[in-house]
């Protein structure tokens, strides 16, 4: 028996679509997007306080005006991809039935509280407006760039604008309705754009790895208040990798291109006042510890085997350090030993080296380079 799936049918019919589209002239796609005024949760947008911002310096290759000009409609209108506003969680011992051990989840630990957000749920919503340990946060995911990031949201909530820049999710906050491209974590519209969101680390790992590392975790369920085909990813699959996630083609073109890596290669990206760096994840898996200079400052990327993720540190004491065993990364000797990192003879877990830890996240190479063409690449 020959099984014909939806993609095959649509592919077969693609010639018809192409011929039709070729007959049409260009027009303002954005005009279809409508106004960001009808949030799915019924909020009125009357509040004036946007999300909290922080003073930080990030590398920028484009002005806010250039980014706004590069915005394009992804198809859905504002909130056409509805953020989850009332997330429901299950215990790790009673996870959602559809969640396989090898499926990707986005893990967060804040103030000792661990939560996992399955990619299979977020692919339909892209944003979860949640509270972790009493702190209002948004956990966000863009399927087209493979980026999961966390932001403090204050009293407002974030929604999916339906707009894309560099194929990346453009969020809007419901208080001010200004645009915040996810990867940039920066406001690009409104008066005096350039405010930066405060971020927290979101770990891209698998459910099995996260549950093992954090048995007390809870996990987001598909009881979202929406009817979606959970368990079926419209773009492909990660377990195993297939479809959009595995192919080399773009759905939306990046701001700029680079061919040193295949477009969907996963890198661990970090940007700070010192510059931007991308470390190929597979390389970090192999080398375990990669030391480099960025902006004249010594940095180190280390691999975390249990979670299959990485961390990037720079010179400076860890915030929680009491100073008794102060170590200078500029002169320290780092080595890998049985899953831990040895710093000048002292053993540390990969996520708790005695240095300043930077916010990093996994990203598809094309997306990272599109936003940060000045990036250093470790491949």
């Amino acid at each position: 028996m020959v099984q014909i799936d939806r993609r095959s049918l649509l592919g077969a019919l693609g010639v018809g679509m192409s011929s039709v589209s070729g007959c049409l002239g260009s027009s303002d796609v954005g005009a279809e997007s409508g106004s960001i005024t009808d949030s799915s949760d019924g909020s009125t947008g009357s509040a004036v306080e946007g999300p909290p911002t922080v003073g930080r310096s990030l590398p920028a290759a484009y002005t806010a005006a250039e980014l706004e000009a590069a915005t394009r409609s992804g198809g859905p209108p504002p909130d056409g991809i509805p953020a989850i506003e009332d997330p429901q969680f299950a215990e790790a011992t009673d996870p959602p039935a559809l969640l396989d051990g090898g499926d990707p989840v986005f893990g967060v630990v804040l103030d000792g509280e661990a939560k996992a957000y399955p990619q299979s749920v977020l692919v339909w919503h892209e944003i979860v407006n949640d509270a972790i340990a009493g702190t209002p946060v948004s956990v966000t995911y863009c399927p087209l760039t493979g980026t999961a990031q966390g932001f403090y949201r204050g009293e407002t909530t974030f929604g999916v604008s339906g707009q894309l820049i560099n194929a990346n999710l453009v969020m809007f906050d419901r208080a001010t309705e200004e645009w915040w491209p996810q990867m940039l974590a920066t406001r690009i519209t409104g008066d005096d754009p350039g405010d930066h969101l405060e971020e927290f680390r979101v770990v891209w790992t698998t459910w099995e790895r996260w549950r093992s590392a954090h048995p007390e975790t809870v996990v987001l369920t598909d009881d979202t208040g929406f009817a979606r085909n959970y368990g079926s990813d419209p773009y492909g699959g990660y377990n195993p990798r297939s479809g959009y996630y595995a192919g080399g083609s773009f759905l939306f073109p990046p701001l700029t291109e680079d061919n040193r890596l295949a477009p969907k290669t996963v890198v661990i990206g970090m940007r700070s006042a010192n510059g931007a760096v991308a470390v190929r994840k597979e390389t970090l898996r192999e080398e375990r510890v990669i030391e480099f200079d960025l902006g004249g400052v010594r940095h180190a990327a280390v691999y975390d085997e249990p979670l299959d993720t990485g961390y990037v540190y720079r010179s400076g004491d860890a915030p929680e350090s009491d100073g008794t065993d102060s170590v200078d990364l500029e002169t320290a000797t780092l080595s890998w030993e049985d899953g831990d990192v040895v710093v000048d003879g002292a053993v540390h877990a990969p996520d708790s080296l005695p240095f300043e830890r930077e916010i990093v996240f996994d990203a598809m190479w094309f997306a990272w380079y599109g936003y940060y063409p000045m990036t250093d690449l470790h491949r």
Partner: protein, 180 residues
Amino acid sequence: MRLAIGRRDSAAVVAAVTVGYLLAYLWATGDLSLRTGVAPGVLVIDDPLGRLFARTGPASFGAIATVDTGIVRLLLSPVNVAIGAIVAGLVGINLGMTYLAVRRPTACGIGAGSGLLASVPALLSGTVCCGPVVLLAIGVQATAVVLTAFVWLLPIGVALLLASLAYVATKIDPGRPIES
């Protein structure tokens, strides 16, 4: 229309095509999918009336219920079903007319399948999630022109179907006997 549904054989064609196209439309929009291993059941979201007209794309609307049969899953969006039914009905009548035209070639001079071709744009209009997923299958980048085309696929499809219907109707002589 009376021509197409006035005869038993052509009415059967209209009904079969309408149902088949509606199923294909819902499949293309992602509302209908194979989903085995899930227990049969219906799950209605909170405030279904409030979300009835929540748009998820240029011509698609969010589902208010999940209907599992154990084999297929239907994400029930009444507006999508209504749009799909209208287009499917037009396609059905078109092909019913075409069927009559084929059965009476001396009356027509038109080729079979004109209604089918006209139905393609509407079928491709379904979009879901972040960008028109159909482009993944086609391997076309979502440029501004293509996305604009997507916005117009449904109305273009309906217009083509209506035009095709009018054209075929003028070519058929209902009084002429069926040639075997």
